[in-house]
């Protein structure tokens, strides 16, 4: 049976921000303008859209699975949160330092906004991870 989880307000705020960001990203890519889907696009944009599709599938799965883990399997929530945080950080580092010559995000209003707010989501996830890790350490 579900028992109430005692987490701080900042955790729930960070989680809400993460969810809001993920839904914005899903919405931005689901409603891409027609000119961005043109087959004559540059190779970089094509590669980016291909990569983004794979990543958004993972994001969708995470959005569904995370509440289940948090409420049903709370013991493992810290590991899932750390994994998601490291993945968000890894793809950010990949896009800006590793795949910088290969990927190019389309110049669309909402996509640019989503790209700009990526550091905020990473910070939110880091906060959530810290809270879950140190909460469990103080409980033992």
């Amino acid at each position: 049976m579900y028992k109430g989880i005692e987490l701080t307000i900042s955790f729930w705020v960070a989680m809400s921000m993460s969810y809001a960001f993920c839904f914005s990203a899903l919405y931005a890519y689901a409603t891409l303008p027609d000119h961005l889907l043109d087959p004559n696009n540059t190779a970089q944009i094509k590669a980016t859209l291909k990569l983004s599709t794979v990543r958004l599938v993972i994001v969708s799965l995470a959005l569904i699975a995370y509440p289940i883990v948090l409420f049903k399997f709370f013991k493992y929530a810290k590991y899932v949160t750390v994994a998601l945080t490291s993945w968000a950080t890894t793809i950010y580092i990949d896009d800006y330092f590793v795949l910088v010559e290969i990927v190019e995000y389309p110049d669309s209003g909402l996509i640019s906004l989503v790209q700009m707010s990526r550091p905020i989501i990473i910070l939110s996830l880091i906060w959530m991870s810290f809270e879950l890790i140190f909460r469990s350490q103080t409980e033992v």
Partner: protein, 164 residues
């Protein structure tokens, strides 16, 4: 119980406690032999991969066509990934040495390896063939083994004494 057995029991008790208290005094936790074996494999695998990449990049291995590295910025990507892998490996070893946050370090490395595998599969599957890079392909194919090993050490790692 005869006298010999009693002495053996006393020695066993004394030595057993002494070794335990000694390791506790040094704040040193002895990991299982399977942990040490798999952890050595992880280090060896990652170091050989990094070393091999730099050897191929520097044209120091004969019979390897390095032209593929110039395609699609592959050289830059592999270079950056090798450096990040080295940094994460250092982070993993430091956390193992201090016995702090080891499971999280493993998790970060697993996520990084999975993400780079997905990226490579999505971006380079079109024009890269395994036969183009036989030395590096061997490591790309055996990557699941590396990920499974990381997952295994993450599970069997001990933070505390069993008696604590």
């Amino acid at each position: 119980m005869n006298e010999k057995d009693t002495k053996n029991l006393e020695f066993a008790t004394i030595f057993g406690n002494a070794s335990n208290s000694q390791s506790k005094g040094k704040d040193h936790i002895v990991q299982s032999s399977s942990f040490r074996l798999i952890f050595s494999f992880i280090n060896l695998y990652a170091l050989i991969t990094i070393a091999l990449f730099f050897l191929v990049k520097g044209n120091l291995v004969g019979g390897v066509n390095t032209n593929f590295l110039e395609q699609g910025g592959f050289l830059y990507v592999l270079n950056a990934r090798a450096i990040i892998l080295l940094l994460l490996l250092i982070f993993l070893n430091v956390s193992a040495y201090y016995n702090y946050g080891f499971k999280y370090a493993c998790l970060v490395l697993i996520v990084y390896m999975l993400n780079s595998a997905i990226d490579n599969a999505v971006l380079y599957s079109g024009f890269m063939h395994l036969t183009d890079r036989p030395y590096l392909s061997a490591f790309a194919i055996t990557r699941p083994l590396f990920i499974i090993s990381l997952f295994w050490v993450m599970i069997i790692h001990k933070y505390k004494f069993k008696s604590d």
